[in-house]
Symmetry: D2
Subunit: 366 residues, 4 copies
């Protein structure tokens, strides 16, 4: 991962600011011959789109994606639009930028935001809506992820919100069907009901709250991952940590593994039907030695509470003067919610990349 | 990060297997003119060296480093050996490889180890001592880290073990001086005393236990980090996750941030003496928007229990037959202990790399 | 250089096909605070634009560039638009695509073109106007080059056509002023007059002809270049060879150096005024050991004749049947002409990249 | 290509100075399961080894390679040593360094050498035998090339010297068998006889002379190459230009193509037996649009005369004082000779890399 590009053979370069002309990405290295329509990408973008419930920002962006390059159709493709192996550029024009008065955030450093650090690094900053540091950039990732999914049709990637504030779900209630049926991408219907009340109160307070997201990839063949410094878990950790507001990433049992003894942590094996081991547990989260084991790849990450809140906080401005600050504007009370489709996209990109890398160096996948 | 290389301008490529001829690394991109003696590197290696207490593997390796290239001294350097800007190759020859009977691990897949996944990926595996997947590779990282520290002389990097099994230290007792005075790199003298008894029991049981390590970098100037996909925290997450047996990484408050409300998580600011903000808290762990804030960079990571234990576990062998397995040999009952100097090395490498990157694209550091 | 991205700290990713929706690039790693208007880029694009004389393709493309991201202006910038250090996306929409009948090139492999090889590699091909393999892609390079020039304001980069077909210019007549005054970018007025007659005849024959271009960068400080595999000349060779139809690249005396004896090839030195050597000759073309010497960097490259000609050539079609083929459509009789501004752009990008890399690893430039 | 690493999936990182402890490389990304013995590598190194005739430097280096990692053998491999997919570190210890008086080159800038530019870049320089800028580094490339050849067993790579000073060979006399039978790697026996007399005279004069080398790869399948910025010819151009003293690179007809008309340059096609086109000519040198066509890949490059000569040349020293300088020591009168096996190695590495990249992104090779 480097600057605004990630991936090695399946490479994604994103661009764009929150209130600029457009944002988007170039997906380079996508194999040729895959069916890809704008609608495939739009469907994923719509899941992430703001303004779909009262629990996400009220900014209204259609987030309409345009494919600028890298696909082709003619009579020989039977009318289907196929990837050609050349770079796929995707663009989403910004429409609802509200060219309002930005003087407040122009001069002030909002606590928890990247205002001060961008100024410290670059000496200049597009402060409108957070500029490049806005979570709006993740729309480009979701678009890229939709392409990545085409590369790995045998792999199912799903994510869910498993904790909001201090309230974890009851894993016994886990039902993937539920994820699409509440505004929180929550797999536990009971927890979702609780979150509704809880987040309404947070929202009315002008406050915000953190969350934990879990991403699961099923159908990952054993053998993906490039030890030592392109380990599958290392790449996933970087991918998830690069999402806005993420402060922690764990694989399988994660931090809980530290408290275990070796006997309890070992994923025992029995003979499987297909000639490969059947694991009796998955503490490892599907990755051993940086390489996938064939078990579901399980990643969790923590999102901090949205930094924009209505309670006044102490801060300073660009001139070093001390100020008290509240952050007006349209914001997500729990930015973790919209991180759910973003997490799926990052998982898809990493797995697509490692699939191509494995095939390149080790021949076909097992 | 890609395959066996990490870093962008300060680049480290490691090589070597646990029981091969030698292991080491090539450090590419180190600035010229830095004083570097083998002793500087050796001092760091000695901290990681096995066999220093009864709590780490009894393998006896002197881990003597040789500098093969990239340094120079003559009368004009006043006898000091200086880096020249060319690649610095470092080699550590293996001596205590015990060419014993490996038939057991040759054919069996040890639970929790990378035996099956390396076979699945490569179809062949140097099983002696774990081969490339052995934590012995981290000696090369520690050597590279010693070079990295030369690049960032104003930054102090220290790590400590803050949890062993279920037993966290009492942070009120934190004393960096203690870290060098017990075999656990533990900053809490009282906890260290407890660990001694606790780990002795684990060791005698032939069992093992996990740990949590915390790494802190002080004196990091604001402005380091390359958004969006080379964020400082994303690179640190990948760096730590690439260490053997690590299952989780967090920055600042990490997973605890998920349970906070926005008011509690915001690091408020007041005017500082040096013209930059003084932060009243550091929930963010020194990183905002992927860029360092000037506050201490704080990273924690979880290490799973050593997978090699004496309790029989169910497994399969290469031929798919079911077996019961115990893992004999010399092992660390808590592999997290020796991860402490490794974590410092990875932090040093990442910060050296980002220092050079920032200087390249944004001019001098603030 | 890798896939559709080149550069290391100053990185350019291009996208787009000849007859697709749009083409463009993302310039990543551009330092912040540089004044950049669309007009700056447009001026360079206009030099490369087709249809400006009867000697280039009659395709009419306004080649209007849009800056989608990475720049910012407000009252604090005094109305000037500045780069922000974030990725600069540039887009040029295709307008004159002539959705005509492509059935001929759809099924046939035009000799000298990339039709067969793209099919062999990808199994699918956007054949309209050559798709991704069209020289139209170089518009994106020229746009990126305009940004690169901002990074290296002290360096003057100029290119010229120095040979058309078998007719080399007379170097004694070299006058940079002439380059802008004839449709060939030719620095020798007399040769330009000859080329007019010569190329008219070629054009009327439905034939085409090759060319040699020379690019010169003056004001390059000594010290740029990253030995061993990022040598300045190696990067320039790759950059120029990546331009469509280029078949050879040389630095300084180039191939002529093979015929020299050591005494004649050595660039002798005398004391310079500024404390650095003054070179008495520049056979080396400004690069020694892969590092700039402070002398002008001189690169020449050969462009093959345009492959699209009206004389029938033997070929085969996709089905393997033998055919005779002429290539109708709008084409440049000497594609080398429009390679002149492209060459300047590539030189600018490589020098900008190496300037940042040098600054990163070696501190400020000498 | 970046710093001291080249390649993307098949990656080579070299290290070492002319008179340092050792030089070598790490080959990363080599597929597993390939038979590789030190003898395979040694055989290639012996072809490049100095001191084999009076026409190359009299330095006596056994250039004995050691494989430090990345290979494995046991009873299951039938005693054969196989690659394991992990990094292959290769080391050649320096033995004949002659720790003589270097005071002359320590303080002086030898014309044509990298002395001044390394000082300008790094401010410090290992001047012993040229340090990192010595052609001794190419031993590491030859070693890596021997590994690369294992990756592409169906491809035959051969190089030859085709011009020495002003004397080109007669291509009608081309006989690959001759290449191993004269000290010049010359395929024309008659030219070789001439070179013997010619180079003897050059040598006795204390002078030197340039050369042109041609490298040919046969059996390259169509489809290798990664447009736009990882084109096969662009990568080859960088690879060859990175060899010491190279000043020009061309593919196929190269610079001669500039003088051709389109009709003469087009490589016509007829139906082939294997379903792919049979080309009637190969002006393109086996590459169209940056992708291999299945025809032999033909690359030529020019090597300047060795800069170390016994005729005094004007120069300056580190302090800026003007001096006259001759370069004593052991040198090659025609450094192009030993570039022949180096060129083969670079071709092998580039083709191995592109073979893996193609397989990764486009499935199996045609």
């Amino acid at each position: 991962m480097s600057h605004n590009t990630f991936g090695h053979l399946f490479r994604v370069t994103t661009f764009g600011e929150s209130h600029g002309v457009a944002l988007g990405c170039v997906v380079d290295g996508c194999p040729p011959g895959l069916a890809l329509e704008a609608e495939d990408i739009q469907a994923e973008l719509d899941r992430r789109k703001p303004g779909q419930s009262r629990f996400t920002t009220q900014r209204r962006e259609p987030d309409q994606v345009k494919i600028l390059s890298g696909v082709f159709s003619d009579d020989r493709t039977g009318g289907r639009q196929l990837t050609t192996g050349t770079p796929i550029a995707l663009m989403i024009e910004n429409t609802d930028q509200r060219s309002k008065d930005y003087s407040e955030i122009r001069d002030s450093y909002r606590p928890g935001h990247a205002d001060f650090t961008y100024d410290a690094k670059y000496g200049i900053r597009d402060y409108r809506g957070g500029g490049r540091s806005s979570a709006r950039e993740t729309a480009a990732r979701v678009a890229a992820g939709a392409v990545a999914r085409k590369v790995i049709p045998g792999i199912t990637i799903r994510a869910a919100l498993v904790q909001m504030g201090p309230h974890a779900i009851d894993r016994a209630n886990w039902d993937w069907e539920q994820v699409g049926q509440n505004p929180f991408f929550c797999p536990d219907a009971k927890a979702a009901a609780l979150y509704e009340t809880y987040l309404d109160a947070i929202r009315k307070d002008g406050s915000s709250v953190g969350a934990v997201i879990e991403v699961v990839a099923e159908g990952v063949p054993p053998g993906l991952g490039a030890p030592i410094y392109g380990k599958l878990d290392a790449d996933l950790a970087a991918a998830m940590m690069s999402i806005n507001a993420v402060k922690g990433v764990e694989i399988g049992d994660g931090f809980a593994a530290a408290a275990l003894r070796g006997e309890d942590n070992a994923d025992e094996m029995r003979a499987g039907n297909d000639g490969r081991p059947r694991f009796l547990a998955n503490h490892a989260g599907g990755i051993l030695g940086g390489i996938s084991s064939g078990e579901p790849v399980v990643v969790r990450f923590a999102v901090k509470p949205t930094s924009s809140i209505l309670t006044p906080r102490q801060s300073v401005n660009r001139d070093g003067a001390e100020i008290d600050l509240i952050t007006k504007g349209r914001h997500d009370p729990c930015v973790g919610i919209r991180a759910v489709p973003v997490a799926e996209a990052m998982m898809a990109c990493v797995l697509a990349d490692h699939t191509l890398r494995h095939r390149g160096q080790n021949g076909e996948r097992p």
